[in-house]
């Protein structure tokens, strides 16, 4: 079976995305959750790059750069917040951060 390279690339991106999704669901450590999200973002980036190469335009690659930049910003803010939270809760277990409910 010959798979079209674009399809193959999209499938790969899809698998990566789902992997990230599964790991965010099974992890309770906030840092790992953040990492999983990053995987998903990169999966999306990969999909853009694949699509971009399929159409032979640069749009998708530009988008990928945006994603990278945004992921970096997000991680930085995220880590800062996690640090702050760790100060207060002395743990990284996301289940502990459940003071608000109902």
């Amino acid at each position: 079976m010959i798979v079209h390279p674009t399809t193959a690339g999209m499938l790969l991106a899809g698998v990566l995305f789902v992997l990230g999704l599964i790991s965010i669901l099974v992890r309770r450590d906030i840092i790992f959750m953040l990492l999983s999200v990053e995987i998903m973002l990169n999966a999306a980036g990969l999909a853009f790059v694949v699509a971009s190469s399929h159409w032979g335009t640069a749009d998708g690659q530009v988008m990928f750069i945006f994603i990278l930049a945004m992921a970096a910003a997000e991680v930085s803010v995220g880590l800062a917040l996690i640090l702050q939270l760790y100060h207060q809760l002395k743990t990284l277990d996301s289940d502990e951060a459940a003071k608000m409910n109902g």
């Binding site: 999704l21 965010i24 669901l25 309770r28 906030i30 959750m33 996301s94 289940d95 951060a97 459940a98 003071k99 608000m100 409910n101 109902g102």
Partner: protein, 629 residues
């Protein structure tokens, strides 16, 4: 003279008494209360004389419009014709006497003004009823009478039993009124008017004899009549109505209220003539009622209850007459009954007061010499009630009914036998009461003699109870027909099938004999052999029967089981309103939904992530499912 004044004067006086109850002195109240009725009586007499002089030309006064809507029109129209003149005269005259008596009877009552206000209102309402030219105005009087009976029966409001009796009277008669109201709707639907002459005139065009619809209408009117007149099956309120002061009982039984049914049927006799089936039912109801009530009267211990049952029984006679088509005979009996029943009640009242509000006959006795005046008038009253031949008014009126119940077109031998049995019972219970009260040993001390204001009305009524009969004598005894002639323009003469002097003699003799033997039995029972009699009465079967009769054949219990208790039970269990639980249930369901959903808001991050993921899965699977399937 304006006929409208007759009911208006009592109304105005009632209003005055109500509005100014604090400012009137006791004498002022007496003068206003009695005077207004007296004035009404005088005006009634004057109008009656004019009326008579004008050759019985009906006088109709249109005192104003009442309401007019969508083709329905009715006004305050008062009518004086032969029938209403009779009723108005009886009501005002007897009513006046009762008022005068009441001024003595109620002398120590603190709520004197309220009493007279209600009494005046009562008379006014009754006058409206009998003078109304249209059925709606009649209905006004009809309901007004009900209201006043309620007010007066429950006059001594502190005792809940009185209140109960009052409400019972109002509600039970209201059941009849409902039937009557429906009859009004139907009459309007078919004849397009509620004016009585209009209905009577149109009815013969609209319906043929035995038409189903007219039968229904007549039966509904009969329903109204039996309610007000305490006939089977709505007779249950009257015995309890004794809770009111005695003048009230006299008023209810003699002049107002219970005779309204008789009046209604007489007034709408054309309709009943078109519905012979309804007429027959009327007669049967009358016959059955008069016997049942007679038995009940036989075993009562309370003097007023005896009289109450006797009223039911006597009105049964009137219904019997109406049912047989003997219209004027019914009205004649109404007149004589008004006299002697008022007399009996007020005399009984005098006894009760004299014995310090003792009503139990078995605690009376030997009053013959203690209360001479009362003794004599009571005797006259009893004689008239028991229809002692020749000398009493009751004899002539009742005898006519008994004879016609067989001989008239609507008569039947069964009805006749019932009427005769009634005569026997009447004699028995009347004189049982009489002997119990006045003979035997004295059980309660008389502590004061009735005053003049009480005795004079009694004397007048005693005279009337005797002489009133002579205006209408049967064929066999001179054949005077003053009364039926008078009513001729309104009420057609009875059509007699068996016109035979011999038969009539037989009937009269038989009824007289029965009445006298009833008296004899009572004498034997009470005076001669009280011992043997009481042994007989103590037998278990008889005991049971006595209880059964004295409870009025357990009609009360029947209605309690069938209607009152289910209604009260249902309304009580439903006090919180079942339908409301539907809504509170809905509210509870909402709250449940809230609780379930609130649990999803656990505050756990991964739970939230799961929700997003599940949402994604759901959306994607729906999309893909739609596309591939």
């Amino acid at each position: 003279m304006f006929p409208a004044l007759i009911p208006l004067i009592p109304f105005i006086s009632a209003l005055l008494l109500m509005a100014g109850w604090k400012r009137f002195s006791r004498i002022g109240v007496t003068v206003t209360g009695c005077g207004s009725i007296g004035l009404a009586a005088v005006i009634a007499i004057i109008i009656a004389m004019q009326f008579s002089a004008n050759g019985e030309q009906a006088i109709v006064q249109h005192a104003g419009n009442w309401l007019e809507a969508g083709g329905f029109k009715t006004g305050f129209d008062f009518r004086m014709d032969a029938l209403s003149v009779v009723f108005v005269l009886v009501i005002t005259i007897v009513g006046f006497l009762i008022h005068v008596y009441a001024s003595g009877y109620m002398h120590d009552e603190p709520d004197y003004a309220r009493f007279f206000a209600c009494m005046n209102l009562f008379v006014g309402a009754m006058l409206t009823l009998v003078m109304a030219d249209n059925l709606l105005l009649l209905y006004l009087g009809w309901e007004g009478v009900g209201l006043c009976s309620y007010l007066l029966i429950g006059f001594w409001y502190k005792d809940p039993a009185n209140g109960y009796a009052a409400r019972k009277a109002f509600i039970v008669t209201r059941v009849g009124d409902t039937a009557m109201a429906i009859a009004l709707f139907m009459l309007f639907q078919y004849t397009g008017t509620l004016s009585i002459p209009g209905i009577l005139e149109n009815s013969t065009h609209v319906w043929s004899v035995n038409d189903g619809m007219i039968t229904v209408i007549a039966l509904l009117l009969l329903g109204g009549a039996v309610g007000k007149s305490a006939q089977l099956p709505l007779q249950i309120w009257l015995p309890d109505a004794m809770a009111g002061p005695t003048p009230v009982s006299a008023l209810i039984h003699a002049a107002t209220m219970v005779t309204a049914g008789v009046y209604l049927i007489a007034r709408t006799h054309t309709l009943f003539e078109l519905a012979p089936a309804a007429q027959t039912i009327t007669a049967v109801i009358g016959a059955v009622t008069l016997i049942l009530a007679g038995f009940s009267a036989l075993v009562q211990t309370d003097i007023k209850r005896v009289l109450a049952y006797s009223t039911v029984s006597q009105i049964g006679y009137m219904f019997l007459a109406l049912g047989c088509g003997a219209w004027s005979a019914a009205v004649f009996h109404f007149v004589t009954h008004a006299f002697f029943k008022a007399l009996l009640f007020m005399a009984a009242g005098a006894i009760i007061v004299a014995l310090h509000h003792e009503q139990d006959m078995f605690k009376m006795g030997g009053l013959k010499n203690r209360l001479r005046g009362v003794y004599w008038v009571f005797l006259i009253g009893c004689a008239s009630l028991a229809a002692i031949p020749f000398v009493t008014a009751g004899f002539y009126s009742k005898d006519q009914i008994i004879w016609l119940s067989w001989s008239a077109a609507g008569g039947h031998v069964g009805l006749w036998l019932a009427a005769l049995l009634g005569a026997l019972l009447t004699g028995m219970y009347t004189f049982r009461m009489f002997f119990l009260v006045f003979y035997g040993e004295e059980k309660t001390k008389v502590h004061h003699q009735p005053g003049n204001s009480m005795m004079i009305p009694l004397y007048i009524l005693a005279v009337l109870s005797t002489v009133a009969g002579f205006i209408e004598l049967p064929h066999t005894m001179g054949h005077v027909t003053l009364f039926s002639n008078w009513l001729q323009p309104v009420l057609p003469a009875v059509s007699v099938l068996h016109e035979s002097l011999a038969m009539e003699w037989t009937s009269q003799a038989l009824s007289a004999l029965l009445a006298l033997s009833g008296i004899g039995l009572a004498y034997a029972w009470v005076v001669k052999h009280p011992k043997g009699m009481s042994d007989f009465l103590e037998m278990p079967a008889i005991m049971w029967l006595r209880g059964y009769w004295s409870r009025g054949w357990d009609f009360d219990e029947l209605y309690n089981v069938l209607l009152v208790r289910p209604f009260v039970y249902l309304s009580r269990i439903n006090r919180r309103d079942l339908i409301d639980t539907l809504y509170t249930g809905l509210g509870a369901f909402m709250e449940w939904c809230h609780n379930v959903l609130a649990r999803t808001q656990s505050g756990l991050l991964r739970w939230y992530i799961l929700s997003v993921v599940l949402g994604a899965v759901a959306i994607l699977s729906v999309l893909i499912w739609r596309i591939y399937l």
